[in-house]
């Protein structure tokens, strides 16, 4: 079980401050929804969680240890687009992570190791309902199937933390609900911590155990550069859907408990 601590985190690009003084601690096994207006820095935050970007100030700890400064298999990710490899079939996409671990030079498994990886991957595919499409290429899958594949691909490595950047934005409502179910089931089974960025508040509250909103506090044009977004509301959801109440941001301190 994993606890993520975000301490006094700032991020600027040049003289443009994007994120300002972000602080929170997550309970092990949390499902955290990140919401906020476009351009407020949600993806930037995820990139820092991944290690793809370095914070300008402050730090992120995982179970008390500063996180590795580059992407690693303990943090899985699903992007809105380009999340699966177009040149591999669904099954190959899922097996890939296992092959990387098992074969540093060839990047491919053979013989028994391969059969094991294959079995594990097929099971994973079954978990997301893609066992019928194991031998199809991503371009032959619908958007919803591609996102389910991306989830299977990320989860087969059993990461401690999963980062989702608007993973369901492109799906239509019916398929979206279906993927939500799969996501929740896997989260409960695996006990990992999930961060999910979404634009859809009802999705945020339906899935998250906690909803954190980023926004700028100061929006006067002359202040835009110097001040970034920070946590403007932070709600525990306790597993049931609560409608958004953006007018009463919970104090930061309450969240850190």
């Amino acid at each position: 079980m994993t606890r993520v601590t975000v301490e006094n985190l700032w991020k600027s690009y040049g003289d443009q401050t994007v994120l300002e003084n972000i602080n929170f601690v997550t309970e092990p096994g949390s499902f955290i929804s990140l919401v906020g207006p476009s351009g407020c820095g949600k993806s930037t935050f995820l990139r820092m969680m991944l290690g793809d970007e370095a914070p300008s100030k402050g730090r992120i700890l995982i179970d008390g240890v500063a996180l590795e400064a580059e992407p690693s298999p303990d943090r899985g990710v699903v992007f809105q687009k380009y999340s699966v490899f177009p040149h591999l079939t669904a099954l190959q996409n899922v097996m890939l992570g296992l092959e990387f671990a098992g074969s540093p030079i060839a990047g491919r498994l053979f013989g028994r190791a391969r059969r094991q990886a294959r079995a594990a991957s097929l099971e994973m595919l079954q978990g997301v309902g893609l066992e019928q499409s194991a031998n199809k290429y991503p371009s032959e899958l619908s958007g919803g199937m591609q996102q389910r594949l991306a989830i299977a691909q990320a989860l087969v490595k059993k990461p401690k933390i999963v980062l989702l950047d608007e993973p369901f934005g492109a799906l239509d409502p019916g398929i979206r609900a279906e993927v939500h179910e799969i996501m929740l089931r896997l989260w409960r089974e695996e006990g990992m911590t999930i961060f999910m960025v979404t634009h859809d508040l009802s999705e945020a509250f339906k899935l998250g155990t906690r909803v954190i909103a980023f926004d700028r506090r100061r929006t006067r044009p002359e202040e835009l550069k110097a001040y970034g977004a920070t946590v403007t509301f932070d709600l525990m959801v306790d597993g049931k859907i609560i409608p958004p109440r953006p007018e009463t941001p919970a104090p930061l301190a309450a969240a850190a408990q």
Binding site: E70, F79, H87, L96, F100, G107, Y137, L141, G143
Partner: protein
Amino acid sequence: MRRLINRRPDAVTQLALMLLPFVIVVICYMVASEARLSENPNDKLLPGWSTIAAAIERMAFLPDPRTGNYLLWSDTVSSLTRLGIGVAVATVIGGIFGILQGLVPYFRATFNAFTGVLSMIPPLAVLPILFIIFGLGELAKVVLVAVGITPFIIRDLALRTAEIPHEEIIKAQTLGASTWQIILRVVVPQMLPRLIDGVRLSLGAAWLFLIAAEAIASDSGLGYRIFLMRRYLAMDVILPYVAWITILAFSLDLALRLFQRVAFRWMYRGNGL
């Protein structure tokens, strides 16, 4: 009356239109040839069909009295061998450098400007230097072809590699891939079809360099024959040779495209439903 832009020829019209410019060229040739031959029946510039046919028979279907070879075929074998090796070498080097330049920041910093400058040097101008360094054998010709097209292939592939969505590279890392594994399993397979595109684009230049190299030092090859015949203005041989080179170039291009389709099915399956 619909807009021109919205009008599509039917299949028959399409075929007729396609043939039209070729037919016009042939007619123009015939008229001009006729005119010149009626003035001077020995004119070599625009020979008549029968002269050309005789030349084709001589070059392609009768053994050369001196060497006993069928010249067109032995020339073709020589040229295609050189072209093939040169292009293969360029493909391998271009593939390796292109991918590394597109993917690894240190590599890019080292070689980007250099390959940029290299690609601007006109290879014909350094031909003498190449011949001096590589001698005049087959090696020099192969090297000229390779030197001529490698910088282009590198630059093209480096750009394409840099276009791989950053998300894919991040994703591979979260799956635990090392740099080497990323290259092997993520980048190379996706870049192979692009590399073939790059090779196809540079085939024209490759032919050019091959012909230029064969013009200078050779005793066989399509370019050699054309330059030898040029001394005598033997257009009855040159024209079929040019047509033959065109057919070969076209077939090579087609073969590469077909290979791409067969070997990289993932690019052509479905359409992102």
